[in-house]
Amino acid sequence: MKKIISMMVATVLALAMMTGCSNNNTTTGSVSTDGSTSMEKVIGALGESFQNDTGITFTYNPTGSGSGIKAVQEGRCDIGLSSRALKDAEKEAGLTATVLAFDGIAIIVNPENPVNDMSVETIAKIYNGEITNWSEIGGNDAEIVLIGREAGSGTRDGFEAITKTEDACKYRQELTSTGDVITTVAQNPGAIGYASVASVKSTVKAVTVDGVEATEANIKDGSYVVQRPFVLVTKADTALSESAQNFFDYITSADANAIISAAGVVPAN
């Protein structure tokens, strides 16, 4: 019995060593990415899975969308990551954008709240303190309680960028996880919060924005506006290195969709 076990262990070890060798021999090199901090979760998960499957070293430098775009332009990384669409000037400078995923943010209220629909302008006014009572937008006479995320959170960053309320939100509570936001909104009839669409539960009500529901299809076709694209930025005139091209194909293939969805965003491909 002992012999069989030790032989099995030896075989497994030998196989592991062989695969290790073959990885090192066939695919050398690395792929470097640089950019959006909001994409940390999704690109981190993709990178880890890619590294496990191929043995190619993956690096990610969380600097912000602007720096990432600049880095790929100057050739300091293989693929730039941006959590906004490219500007026309950037496209003219020879950059190509490939949308990896969409980050949809649901606006959630308590199920008892009669308000079902809001415009983006209303949401912005609520969060910067211009509208403070639900009765002003057709709800009950109750103060609006603003629930948000902590400074530095990707969801907060995205929400404030889309509604243009950066540094202006008058939060009543800053919580450190999506789950806490949902629980708190579910508890308080006057509360409003935001959370990534994938994590919304039935204990809260996601309002429609300008009449459009926050579903995966509406996010993909762009009709639900509280969303932003996660973009892979590459140079149009220069080809990617072999390993970088491998990574690019890997994460834009349909096989990567499960990983992208698990990171809480809607896959684009």
Partner: protein, 288 residues
Amino acid sequence: MKKNQFIEKLIHGIFLLLGLITVGCVLLITVYLVISGIPAIKEIGFVDFLFGKEWASTASEPKYGILPFILTSIYGTAGAIIIGVPVGFMTAVYLSKMASPKVKSVMQAAVSLLAGIPSVVYGLVGMLVLVPGIRKVFNVPDGASLLAAIIVLAIMILPSIIKMSITALDAVPKEYEDASLALGATPIETYFKVSVPAAKSGIAAAVVLGVGRAIGEAMAVMMVAGNVPNMPDSLFQSVRFLTTAVSSEMSYSSGLQRQALFSIALVLFLFIMLINVTLNFFLKREKE
């Protein structure tokens, strides 16, 4: 014989090494905190950092003033002591002097159980019961507030206060009390005029221990206090403590923001050192 001596020395060495691990950890943490906490204070400016009233670490023009956190931590701890100490102290007097042995053993088991509940459970119960409760009782828009944090902290420090006070009260020589009773004092007079004064440094140590527990608590407080960096002007305001300031922003922080978080941790560390020194002072006095 020689072999025995060798084993003795070997074991002595191993025990010394194990002891040094603890000392090493303390030194490592202290040195690390000081090294990583100083640069941000230098860059922001000592006065602007400690007495700045605004904290906006990710704004386009970042502000790093931690006065709101310091005041919140002080008010929160003071509030917890004001509620927790009378309750804990009376409980200790009752358990040590008046309760029958049966009641005493049951209640002491309950107190120990309270001490063993993880802080995240206190936070969860606070979030699901206390916060909505405060909202309804006081008719405010939201219950996550300084008051909620104070109540949670007051309950969390009860076990340390009760246990430490009981130990101090039990140690009062029975002769003191017998003498007082023999002179015609009632039992209640005896407890409050003889036993309690005799145990006062132990009870003071209990209070200081409670302060230490309250000021260092992060998890439970984070779940009920709302975490907005407001100045603590009212009991119903959403506030951020020193501990939660560090833990809530650490995960996504970078650059000066991250360094400033280490500086907050350093300030908190100094507070706790101060409390420890006070505690040692009282404990020493009790021994003498």
